[in-house]
Symmetry: C2
Subunit: 404 residues, 2 copies
Amino acid sequence: MSLVFADRLKNVETSAIRELFKLLGTPGIISFAGGFPDPAMFDVEGIKQASSKALNEEAAGALQYGATEGYNPLREQLCAFMSSKPDSHIGAAVNLRPEELIVTTGSQQGLDLLGKTMISPGDKVIVEGPTFLATIQCFRLYGAELISAPVDANGVDTEALELLIAEHKPKFVYLIPTFGNPSGALLSLARRQKVLELALKYRTLIVEDDPYGDLYFGAAPPPSLLALSASVPGSREFLVYCGSLSKVLSPGLRIGWMVAPPQLLANATMCKQFSDAHTSTFAQATAAQYLKAGRMPATLQNVRTVYAERAAVMGAAITRELGDAVAFTQPEGGLFFWARLTGAGGKTVDAGAFAKKAITELVAFVPGAPFYAANPDLATFRLSFATADVAKIEEGVSRLARAL
Amino acid sequence: MSLVFADRLKNVETSAIRELFKLLGTPGIISFAGGFPDPAMFDVEGIKQASSKALNEEAAGALQYGATEGYNPLREQLCAFMSSKPDSHIGAAVNLRPEELIVTTGSQQGLDLLGKTMISPGDKVIVEGPTFLATIQCFRLYGAELISAPVDANGVDTEALELLIAEHKPKFVYLIPTFGNPSGALLSLARRQKVLELALKYRTLIVEDDPYGDLYFGAAPPPSLLALSASVPGSREFLVYCGSLSKVLSPGLRIGWMVAPPQLLANATMCKQFSDAHTSTFAQATAAQYLKAGRMPATLQNVRTVYAERAAVMGAAITRELGDAVAFTQPEGGLFFWARLTGAGGKTVDAGAFAKKAITELVAFVPGAPFYAANPDLATFRLSFATADVAKIEEGVSRLARAL
């Protein structure tokens, strides 16, 4: 039989990256491709204790249907987690109340609910160029027309962003201000301030996707837009914040959350009711017990230390092995190097061809083009330092040099 | 700020039932309203062992990102579960392979993915009248125009269904053939055969939603459409099957699955990738260990025994207390009585008014109207016997009599 599928499927191409990811099972390959945390860093013992405690103390809650908004003990713990950080990235200024957030099935579902709740076919949405690949596809499935705002090492160019907002009057602007994927960029404090002012000036919704904000290597990054909104009166009501436990605790729990203005949150909850009823209460109760047990600060410290070392090793190796053929900014946090082939020494500037060649040398990464909603820079590529240990990073970068 | 939401939100009304559900917290209330399993029946010990085993033996898999299609050990266990049942409801005839199903975040997500994958705004979908409330809202969010096919105690009227298929050429037909929600109806074997023949004749996709098929009280129900498709050559390629562990093991795990033709399954997987990336691998690994441990047959037996008793008690109480003012068919499985006010003795035939009166007598149930996509029968209502024990059922039905 030949089925006729929904028209919205025509808005997404089958990803070129999918083909590449199929090759990652090749024996001996070193992968810088995925944004997967290193499973060696999972606090298995802590999660085991949390899960046991949830089933011992609140089995009915952990195994029963739950509220679509989320399991209340977890909503409370997430507020405490966000408000009590030692740094100012989220900070006490937020003073978040449980009813201001809903739990989502990973932050990917936060994006999906934003699409479902906000986007009518033909609506414009501004994203960073480059931005998270699954955001592009997710919003396009709801019929969004994506506008791409340029990004440099200090994050989105706010002057260009203002012109785009004024021209396109977007439904919302989607940003990953802190250690962006794939850009690794950190939006400067001045630009953060400017973004909030733009939200107010143009009465435009801003979505802050923040899965990496806790993964800083040195000083804490500037306050999140959510925290900073306290200093730009009125801006908070134009702000959506998406958080996630995936990069800091475990992606397998699928625990994300979304902070949004009340009316948006209510509609997103209604949409979620018909998407998956609620996020696994078993996973939610486990995450709540984990946070309550107070293990998160040590877990975060461990993750930061390990990733900081890997980022340093990868940066040094790239400089040593690839020299001036590749330009990049050393990331101050997150999971990714964003790099660009310069063409120096007559080497290729086609990152797609480079990626294919690299596979034959048993090292994988993702070329940059698919991360652009428009006007891809074909010389760019993304390297993740999250999954491979330092020895593999050294060896992998040597292989990159051979491939280039 | 006043946000402009997506047009699709205009397709769903805020549910009248929501208001009713808010009253369920009233102290002393007996609720026949929800379709929640009784938490006293959760096999907490079994789930605890399964979860520990998953974290001890496969922590990396249980806590890491997983394939969008589902965690392979769970897909294998679900195939074994479906193929090895002692009765013929699913049966060995299906001979399901892991790659023929994807794991969904509850079967609610199966419905959502069907909507996302198949429905363009304006597409027609045939559902039963009455049908599952969240199905109506879920499909309408994707812009479906719902056509309602009449249902009696033997399930959907297949003669009427054929006329509707011929007239409306629907994108698909959505049925709950076994102990329907809210109808409690059991589609007869002859009608099951006919549904598969209609699928072939009109080349129409049929969706079999089957969360209750295991909850039979006496003899096993007729084979599922999926099992029966083996005897109607060619019909399998027009068939989607949605399963769930929510009613038999735990809703809190949010484990459902979908069996579908390959092209549909591939597109649903693509859509799921941007909905929630994958279902919690922590919950999936736990469910896989639970099924592998072989505890399911005893759990099912326990659930069947308890619900059978409650259904018998509720049926006898309704007959005794409400007499000829209420007409109903005694369900042979599932979670629900579907009843109708007859008006005998000059009593009300307005189930909405009856429900409001019942709340003042501290007993809650759901009036039938919202379960109809069109032409609601205002005299109908649904009683769940799943959550309250037999003493509460007796007392609750007495209160119903007082309210009437």
